[in-house]
């Protein structure tokens, strides 16, 4: 080893070789990937068509509505603003485990989105501040810094700017957790935001299936997002936090299974070439009884209470 250190050329060759070894799993925009020895051996035993399929790998991602999209869906369904529904700012002191911090980062992000869409400037700053504390607690570097909060304060009267800031901070957190190999935490943030959106929407109905049909529709179609949540969590079965969340989602699924959503016609698309917009249409039927709706309200309340306690 001492001889090596005295010989700079040899040392640099060693460093270079080690780096190639370390970085062989990753790729960048200009690196070329060669077929490995294992795939060459497999190729000898497969016919040409199978080899073509073998070489084409398919990655699958499941994407939940973000806290921002959830808040936008609620507002566009005619929801009103009710600050009493939101997770109190002071509750933040309760969250000391990574799971609780991640869930409530999602919850506070949803609350932040909701307050911003209703131009509640003071509350928005407080919720952003809470989101920052939780992001810091989770070690998410630079997701939300003091400049972000200042930027929010300085642009409070510009809703477009506020939404851009919120979406940027969410993307920063989401990307950081994913790329730091903490996918369960990333999923937990999304689930926290999703449950908060569902909670706010269900509470705003006051238990009635007739007062706001648009909002009811939004709630009912969350059944489709629930499948996404469960598929996301399924990938991390065996992880303690993922198993806990999967258990909670299964309790919700028992109720959503009693909600019927059915396309009654084929899904069709028509494209406006000039404006570059495609409209996707299908007739569908939705069926939910008052009894099932009551069960859903109760279960969402229960899960959200558990997450925020």
């Amino acid at each position: 080893m001492k001889k090596l250190l005295r010989n700079p050329v040899l040392f640099l060759v060693l460093i270079f070789s080690l780096t190639i070894f370390v970085t062989s799993c990753g790729t960048d925009g200009s690196q070329k990937k060669k077929e490995g020895d294992i795939s060459k051996q497999a190729a000898n035993n497969m016919n040409e068509k199978a080899m073509e399929e073998f070489n084409k790998s398919k990655l699958i991602f499941y994407s939940l509505p973000s806290p921002l999209e959830t808040a936008m869906l609620i507002k566009r369904a005619g929801a009103v603003y009710d600050e009493d529904l939101l997770n109190p700012i002071d509750n933040i002191n309760r969250y000391t485990t990574n799971l609780k911090m991640a869930l409530n980062l999602g919850i506070y992000s949803a609350d932040l989105s909701y307050t911003s869409l209703f131009d509640q400037t003071q509350s928005s700053v407080q919720y952003m501040s809470n989101a920052k504390k939780l992001a810091d607690g989770l070690g998410i570097l630079n997701a939300i810094d003091e400049n972000t909060i200042k930027k929010l304060e300085n642009n409070m009267n510009n809703r477009d700017m506020v939404l851009d800031i919120i979406s940027e901070t969410f993307m920063n957190s989401n990307a950081y957790l994913s790329e730091e190999n903490r996918p369960v935490m990333a999923v937990s943030v999304l689930i926290g935001g999703w449950i908060e959106g569902l909670y706010i929407a269900t509470k705003l109905t006051n238990g009635s299936l007739v007062n706001n049909k648009k909002l009811i529709e939004r709630i009912v179609y969350q059944k489709l997002s629930l499948y996404t949540v469960m598929n996301l969590l399924d990938e991390y079965k065996g992880n303690k936090d993922a198993d806990y969340l999967l258990g909670k989602m299964r309790e919700l699924k028992v109720i959503f299974d009693q909600v019927k959503i059915r396309n009654t016609s084929k899904v069709e698309a028509s494209t406006d070439e000039k404006n570059k917009v495609t409209t996707i249409k299908a007739d569908s039927e939705v069926d939910i009884s008052q009894e099932v709706f009551n069960k859903l309200l109760k279960k969402v309340d229960e899960i959200r209470t558990e997450f925020t306690s």
């Binding site: 250190l5 700079p8 040392f11 080690l18 370390v22 990753g26 790729t27 960048d28 925009g29 200009s30 070329k32 990937k33 070489n55 084409k56 790998s57 398919k58 990655l59 699958i60 991602f61 499941y62 994407s63 939940l64 509505p65 973000s66 999209e69 869906l73 566009r76 369904a77 477009d160 939404l163 851009d164 979406s167 940027e168 993307m171 989401n174 990307a175 994913s178 790329e179 529709e217 179609y221 489709l224 997002s225 499948y227 996404t228 396309n263 084929k266 899904v267 069709e268 698309a269 494209t271 070439e273 570059k276 917009v277 495609t278 409209t279 996707i280 249409k281 299908a282 007739d283 569908s284």
Partner: protein
Amino acid sequence: MIFLFAVYVFVATQTDAQCFSYARAVCKTELGDFVHDGNYNATILSEGETAEIYKTFFTGQEYRIIVCKVDSLPQVDFQIIDEKEEILFDSKEHGGVNIWDFKLETTQQLIIRVEVSEKDKTSNEKVSGCVSILFGIKRE
């Protein structure tokens, strides 16, 4: 010497961080009147590889999909597919566009399939790079 080694390895392994930076700096600029939904969908793909995103799209919102790729990758195409695998939109039929808007009259779960084409199918050397898929929601 040890410091230089550490710096060199650090720089060489930051490919995922570059993907995020790329998505943020380049892809997001094409959102226009749409606000980014905040979700991060980016990954390293190689020629011939496919990625699929399963996502629920809601009625009453107009969406913009932007598919970006680094310059070194060949053409990347995308399709919007329903749960019965029917193709509702194919970018190949629209001049290989990377941005498209769509809206739904009924909420649906759809699949966005993204495929990296191959420059040379006979070659064993495959270029790989960052591909990012962003969704925007039209502002009110």
